[in-house]
Symmetry: C2
Subunit: 217 residues, 2 copies
DNA sequence: ATAATTTTTTAGACAAGACTAAAATTATAG
DNA sequence: CTATAATTTTAGTCTTGTCTAAAAAATTAT
């Protein structure tokens, strides 16, 4: 597997979230910031290697093998993110580009040792689940903060949009994974919220609350 | 800098050990397990980028900039080796190939944090010095074990030939960096030695003793 | 149902980095 | 000091992964 091939498989894995549906050439090209014609070329190549099932003009779907490889790239990416944040004290918003490189390091032994070294974490620093070596994901029961009722408590389990500015916003306010959130009030008009996190009161707009996953308490 | 370019610079750095002498096309090609014609192509390219001074039919020499970049690749390689051995409990003989990949990860911040995380080590697991971020190397005063006189003590500081079989030989006998060596006897005929390491007596042939660096005590 | 639009594919080109075969230069030996 | 050998370079080809422009298929709208 070349680096480019791995990137295509990973992009397909993430686009066809959970389900493993078909992915269109254009969607794939967009995700990888490349042209549809390039995506077509690669899909044909991956089909020949039986990593995907590709049908002309119909897009492609990961084969079991392709899916497994993709899951292991994601596994590596997220394990390295944990390493960077937990061990090297990087911030949430600084780790993505580096993990993007580290995910291509080839050594099955390394991945397993890293996993153990980190204490076999189940989620990455953004709360996204880490697939195990078979590609299985431990599903965590979580809802969006905006669906949470006033006068209730919940724990921050993850964030949806890992946009840079958003991550900086959160880390600046010291809002992090595992934070206990108490919803005081929800404004019916704009659906903004008043919440308490670590003794501090925050006013949170709808756009923020729809990008935070929580687990009710 | 592409990965190939980095590999060429690093190979030149290591071939022109310390000195920064000129390196021949063939020597470079051999080191990189490629053909001389490929090396020529690359040297011309690196010359255009002013990373080396290349003269047709005369070989090439690293420019200050090329030399600095090469030193940082070596720095990364050796820091990652320390990480793999110290933190992930890999053996001496298992880390080279993985470090070969990790050395190309691009992020100045990562290198500095890794360095701190590892306690700013000065040597890698084979006793080779780790250049600092300016490319400077702390020279350690060491001699070959074969030059050590009978009835003397010394400390194992490094190994010369990091050949796989040799590393396995050493780790199997539990001979490692920092081991205290007492030379009991040196046979004049074949220059083999009788030494004590960690309460155990070993019979060491000339070829072994010329590949071990020690510091007299 | 046919025309217009969008999506997807093909064809041809390019850059990086490698290779082979042949030519040019330098080194070595008689 | 030539003749031969070894080294190095050039020229041309190949693969990977990308691109543009044009053709083909699928979708949408009238």
């Amino acid at each position: 597997m070349t680096r480019a091939e791995e990137n295509y498989l990973k992009a397909m894995y993430q686009l066809s979230a959970g389900k493993n549906q078909r992915v269109s050439t254009t969607a794939l090209a967009e995700r990888l910031e490349t042209k549809p014609s390039s995506a077509t070329d690669m899909l044909q190549k991956l089909h020949d290697k039986s990593m995907v099932k590709y049908t002309r003009y119909k897009g492609a779907q990961l084969s079991p093998e392709g899916r497994h490889i993709a899951s292991q790239i994601v596994r590596k990416h997220r394990l390295w993110e944990v390493f960077l944040v937990e061990k090297l004290a990087f911030g949430w918003d600084q780790v993505h580009d580096i993990a993007e490189q580290l995910e291509h390091i080839k050594s099955p032994d390394l991945v397993e040792r890293l996993d153990v070294f980190l204490g076999c974490p189940k989620v990455d620093p953004h709360g996204d689940p880490i697939p195990d070596d078979k590609g299985n994901i431990e599903q965590i029961n979580k809802i969006l903060l905006c669906e949470q009722e006033p006068n209730s408590r919940c724990v921050l389990m993850g964030i949806k949009d890992t946009d840079d500015a958003f991550l900086k916003y959160l880390s600046q306010k010291n809002i992090k994974l595992g934070s206990l959130i108490t919803v005081l009030d929800k404004e019916p008009f704009d659906e903004s919220m008043t919440v308490v996190i670590d003794q501090k009161t925050h006013f949170i707009s709808k756009i923020i609350s729809t990008n935070i996953y929580v687990q009710p308490r």
